[in-house]
């Protein structure tokens, strides 16, 4: 790799999956095998994906570090770069710069604990990476709870994997849709999950916080409403982890865009505990 910190790896798209009408998952594999061998990352880290000609965009690495040889990213089509990314197909080249940022402290804080994942909409992407990381080392953890909600049936991402988690005996999955999210127009034929917003469903789920660690990802409003509920359920603030999704351009602490007070989301984050989040100025 050259000494140019802005130089991306070149990766080839090997699999495309449409999660929702405007959200897509790519599996990327290194074109250069040396990069593949040297590359490693931890759950929670992110990267900058480039569509050459359009620019770069920041997404998390959605696949688990326990799955070698490839990485996956899930993105919603919003602007110039994501539109160009969506127009690509299998075999095209995408740039990737990373992994950047810190990661979930799985070894130090998660081993031997009950793990509760709470995600909203596309917020499941950064959480999924941690879920598969945990499930690939399942015996190292006690209970595993997943509470996942989306606005409508159509907005559920990783539908097949949710099915898989539902069927597993050692995972307690609670899935929910916002009220009215199960209409037929959203392609939903019979919904066996709950109805209601994630914070309320979480409160009624009976999940307790003792000896537990929580991972929360989703739209800022959901995080702000979920954290108090977790506190009520007995989750300690130091054991509640979330990610901050600020706008990022360089990913390496130079472009001065992602800070919340002195906390540079791309360098000190994106993963932080609820206790740390409480210290930050309310500017995210």
């Amino acid at each position: 790799m050259s000494d140019n910190v802005y130089m991306p790896y070149l990766m080839k798209i090997t699999d495309i999956r449409d999660e929702t009408p405007d959200t897509r998952t790519y599996r990327l594999e290194f074109t250069n095998s040396e990069d593949a061998d040297k590359f490693s990352f931890k759950a929670g880290q992110f990267g900058l994906y480039s569509a050459f000609g359009g620019g770069e965009s920041t997404f998390c690495v959605a696949s688990s570090p326990t799955r070698k040889g490839y990485i996956e990213c899930t993105f919603r089509v919003m602007g110039r770069v994501t539109t160009q990314l969506r127009d690509m197909n299998v075999g095209d080249i995408v740039g990737f710069r990373g992994p950047y940022g810190n990661f979930f402290p799985i070894e130090e804080k998660f081993y031997g604990k009950n793990i509760t994942f709470i995600a909203g909409g596309i917020g499941l992407a950064p959480v999924r990476c941690v879920i598969w990381n945990i499930l690939d080392l399942r015996d190292k953890f006690k209970e595993v709870n997943i509470v996942y909600g989306a606005r409508t049936f159509q907005d559920l991402v990783y539908k097949d994997e949710i099915k898989e988690w539902e069927d597993r005996k050692d995972v307690n999955l609670v899935k929910t849709l916002d009220p009215g999210g199960d209409k037929a127009e959203y392609g939903c034929s019979g919904w066996n999950g709950k109805m209601g917003f994630v914070p309320t469903v979480l409160k009624e789920s009976g999940i307790k916080g003792d000896d537990g660690v929580a991972v929360v990802c989703g739209p800022p409003i959901m995080i702000k409403l979920t954290l108090p509920v977790l506190k009520e359920l007995g989750f300690a603030e130091e054991n509640t982890f979330t990610t901050l999704e600020n706008k990022m351009k360089c990913g390496i602490g130079k472009c001065g865009r992602c800070n919340v007070g002195s906390f540079y989301v791309c360098k000190h984050g994106p993963v932080l505990s609820a206790a740390e989040l409480a210290q930050l100025p309310d500017e995210y």
């Binding site: 050259s2 140019n4 910190v5 000609g53 800022p220 706008k247 865009r257």
Partner: protein
């Protein structure tokens, strides 16, 4: 080393000759009634009779936009080429407040990831600074521990001895080497004009204590004083682009179907959409939140990260501001609110 002197004419000639030799020379040019630091070409109207340039020497090391990589797109895929940073540079015409910003920016561009575009370019650069002979109400370098005759960040300091010339003060090996290679432009004597130096540290009074300011900032994030400080601000980027220590940038692509470049362009925290999320949520919606970030970053965040204030007191942002927002007034309001000096 015998004393060396340089006159205005020789300096103009030297800069133009350096530019001929393929070295990037930056110097002060007089255009439309004010002086700017610009890349020198044969026809540049170089002039050394000025109080301070509108922009700072940062443009030489951190240009308004620069190519960081280029690529070709074809059937097989994409070839990406790196960009070499090998040109040597000479910068002349900045003041000690400009030169002092370079070590500050080195801290950020060297934080974990080494940004070669700034660091390597700094390696190839010789900075020749003009000691100040004038200060106005917006200057406050002394309040931050700098001096109108400061040597921080410079390779050579030129101290004016007459209306026509300066005495050289070689500060670094690079400075000595420069003096050797271009000794034909220097002379060993010059008639001294007794009135120089006209300016000393006392002429620029210390106006506040940065520690008091930082303490107040760290504890008053929601204080209404921020709205009062930034009441006139109309969110443009004049202050940040003329500032010697502002280093924020954007990364964008410019491409045709088959080839393109990726560039690093200046950006500013005061601009309305600097932190706009793809979901249209903007953490800094209001103009005063953005201006608060500007002062917060310089006087508190940079100190937390690098134990240095990212401001050298040059006052350019106050002079360039069309809405008459004055950073010195703002800091003094904070200091008095904090009950300090």
């Amino acid at each position: 080393m015998a004393d060396l002197y340089l006159t205005h004419e020789k300096a103009v000639q030297m800069l133009k000759d350096i530019a001929q030799k393929g070295i990037e020379a930056f110097g002060p040019v007089q255009k439309d009634g004010s002086h700017l630091i610009e890349k020198i070409t044969e026809s540049s109207p170089i002039d050394f009779n000025y109080f301070i340039t509108n922009n700072s020497i940062k443009e030489a090391l951190f240009p308004r936009y620069e190519k960081i990589l280029s690529y070709k797109i074809n059937q097989e895929g994409v070839e990406v080429e790196d960009v070499a940073v090998d040109k040597s540079i000479v910068i002349m015409g900045g003041h000690p407040c400009d030169a002092a910003s370079i070590p500050l920016m080195e801290k950020l561009f060297g934080w974990d990831f080494k940004d070669k575009f700034f660091l390597q370019r700094r390696e190839n650069t010789t900075i020749i600074t003009l000691a100040c002979e004038e200060a106005d109400k917006d200057c406050f370098c002394t309040s931050l521990g700098y001096s109108p005759r400061g040597e921080i960040g410079s390779d050579i300091l030129l101290e004016r001895v007459s209306d026509q010339g300066w005495k050289l003060k070689l500060l670094t090996d690079k400075g000595k080497e420069f003096a050797k290679t271009y000794e034909s432009y220097f002379q060993s004597s010059l008639d001294i004009d007794k009135q120089y130096p006209k300016l000393s540290d006392q002429d620029v009074p210390v106006q506040f204590d940065p520690k008091v300011v930082k303490k107040w900032i760290d504890t008053h994030f929601e204080d209404p004083l921020w709205e009062e400080i930034a009441s006139n601000c109309w969110s443009c980027a004049a202050c940040t682009y003329v500032c010697p220590t502002c280093h924020c940038f954007d990364i964008t692509d410019d491409a045709t179907m088959w080839s393109g470049i990726r560039t690093k362009n200046w950006d500013a925290c005061t601009l309305p959409y600097f932190t706009l999320h793809a979901s249209q949520h903007n953490p800094r919606e209001q103009h005063f939140q953005r201006y608060r970030q500007r002062i917060n970053h310089k006087y508190s965040i940079y100190v937390n990260l690098f134990n240095a204030i990212s401001c050298t007191g040059c006052g350019r942002c106050s002079r360039a501001c069309g809405a008459k927002v004055n950073i010195l007034e703002a800091i003094k309001m904070i200091a008095s609110a904090a009950g300090g000096k």
